[in-house]
């Protein structure tokens, strides 16, 4: 009786211990997977690169502004700088035709609005200075991709027809690599829509027209 009782106690204790260890093991593996999925290393690495690049741009901006400050007391130089600023702002607001190197992306497939939004975000994140979609320059007031009831995409009152062409001016290598990187926007679109055909070409010279008059 005493032996049986002791044996039972040992078996119960062993079972409990094994159960506890199984539980801890399972929890630690789940935790590790959650950490990995939610904070993918490639993603945080990419963001570090973006913020680092942004700080470099700010430093360059400071250097330009310091020169501009010195010149700002000289009337002639001050006026020249004001005119340069005006040209830059006219480029930003889409009032001038512009040209430069960049990438051209052609998507063959009925793309949803969310992919237009993500593609544009990806291009700006990679340093695009100007973007057009099917020839429409993206500026304040022409940025919303609207889905009309039949599923077509409306941009600034125009229905976009496939193939959709994105043109972006900027560092063509950075832009192309950013789009084509593993886990990047092209891979994500293809993974969700395997039937799409997407071509990315770097271009030595692209021309993006000014926005159409309101």
């Amino acid at each position: 009786m005493s032996n049986n009782w002791r044996r039972t106690t040992w078996l119960i204790a062993t079972g409990l211990l094994m159960g506890a260890l199984f539980s801890f093991q399972s929890k630690s593996v789940t935790q590790a997977n959650n950490n990995y999925n939610r904070e993918s290393r490639s993603s945080i690495f990419k963001e570090i690169q973006i913020v680092k690049k942004s700080n470099q741009n700010l430093s360059e901006q400071i250097s330009d502004l310091e020169k501009e400050l010195v010149a700002s007391t000289d009337k002639e130089k001050a006026l020249e700088n004001i005119n340069n600023d005006i040209v830059r702002m006219e480029i930003l607001t889409g009032q001038r035709d512009i040209t430069g190197p960049g990438v051209k992306v052609e998507v063959n497939g009925e793309m949803e609005a969310l992919w237009f939004v993500d593609m544009v975000n990806e291009l700006y994140s990679a340093g695009a200075e100007a973007i057009s979609v099917n020839g429409i320059r993206l500026v304040q007031g022409s940025l919303g991709f609207d889905t009309i009831p039949n599923g077509q995409i409306l941009l600034t009152g125009e229905i976009l027809q496939a193939p959709y062409t994105f043109e972006a001016i900027g560092d063509k290598n950075v832009l192309k690599n950013s789009l084509n990187q593993s886990g990047g926007i092209i891979e994500r679109i293809i993974k969700t829509n395997p039937e799409y055909q997407i071509q990315v070409e770097d271009q030595d010279k692209l021309t993006i027209e000014a926005k159409k008059a309101d």
């Binding site: 199984f22 590790a32 290393r41 400050l69 700002s72 004001i82 005006i86 702002m89 500026v139």
Partner: protein, 241 residues
């Protein structure tokens, strides 16, 4: 016979203990292994990367303050020139800066508060406000021809970016997190009309309806938007003469 039976019983007991011991040994070893390989290393690495990102954020603040001071001094110097030609150019520049989002903006509009709700279960992240949710919402607001948008004091301009950083979000490359205050200047009726269209942002709308994500909207007579103060450069685009 009784002795044989007793010996068999003892052997069975010993065998079960040996098997249990081996199993426990394997589990203990696996536990230690997973602790080192999965938790400690990965989390340490992520923490190091986050610290690095924080140091870049701190640098960024200092750089932005310096830019603000320099622009202010340049502006003051320009104002003292007081010549008609410069005055015309300065007015033109000011108008362009307003169009581009480089000036503060004030006007009628709405304030949207978007915050994560309670997690329904540990495996789901449907209660989180993702960067993609904010991108979709900004896109929707843009279809309402708004004059300006800001998210947590970051002015949204055409070249603004919204990206995920773990559970945080980078808006204009500046780290921010839930709750998100989205201020919008524009036609209030048009904005509320667009926001009521659930087909325009189905995923976020479903989560708001399920109370996974909390969204509140307030119509305001006056909304103040900050000026864009992030980096911008034009190195590759040139004017077509």
């Amino acid at each position: 016979m009784k002795i044989d039976k007793a010996l068999k019983s003892v052997n069975a007991l010993i065998t079960s203990f040996v098997v249990a011991g081996v199993l426990i040994g394997v589990l203990v070893a696996a536990q230690f292994q997973s602790s080192v390989a999965a938790n400690s290393y990965l989390v340490d690495e992520l923490n190091a990367q986050k610290e690095l990102l924080q140091s870049f954020d701190d640098d960024r603040e200092a750089l932005k303050n310096r830019i603000f001071d320099l622009r202010k001094q340049i502006e003051e110097n320009r104002q003292t020139l007081e010549l008609s030609a410069e005055k015309v150019s300065l007015d033109k520049l000011d108008t362009l800066k307003t169009q581009a989002g480089f000036n503060k903006l004030r006007g009628k509009g709405v304030r949207i508060l978007l915050a994560e709700g309670k997690a329904q279960n540990a495996q789901s992240d449907s209660n989180l406000v993702h960067a993609a949710d904010l991108r979709d919402l900004v896109n929707l607001l843009r279809t309402a021809s708004v004059e300006g948008i800001s998210i947590n004091e970051q002015r949204i301009i055409p070249g603004s970016t919204i990206n995920a950083l773990g559970s945080d979000v980078l808006v204009n490359r500046v780290k921010t997190a839930s709750p998100f205050e989205i201020n919008v200047v524009g036609d209030v009726n048009l904005i509320t009309n667009r926001l009521s269209d659930q087909s325009a942002y189905p995923d976020l709308y479903r989560r708001i309806k399920n109370k996974d994500v909390n969204m509140e909207m307030e119509k305001l007579e006056q909304v103040n938007l900050p000026a864009y103060d992030g980096d911008f450069s034009i190195k590759y685009a040139t004017d077509v003469k």
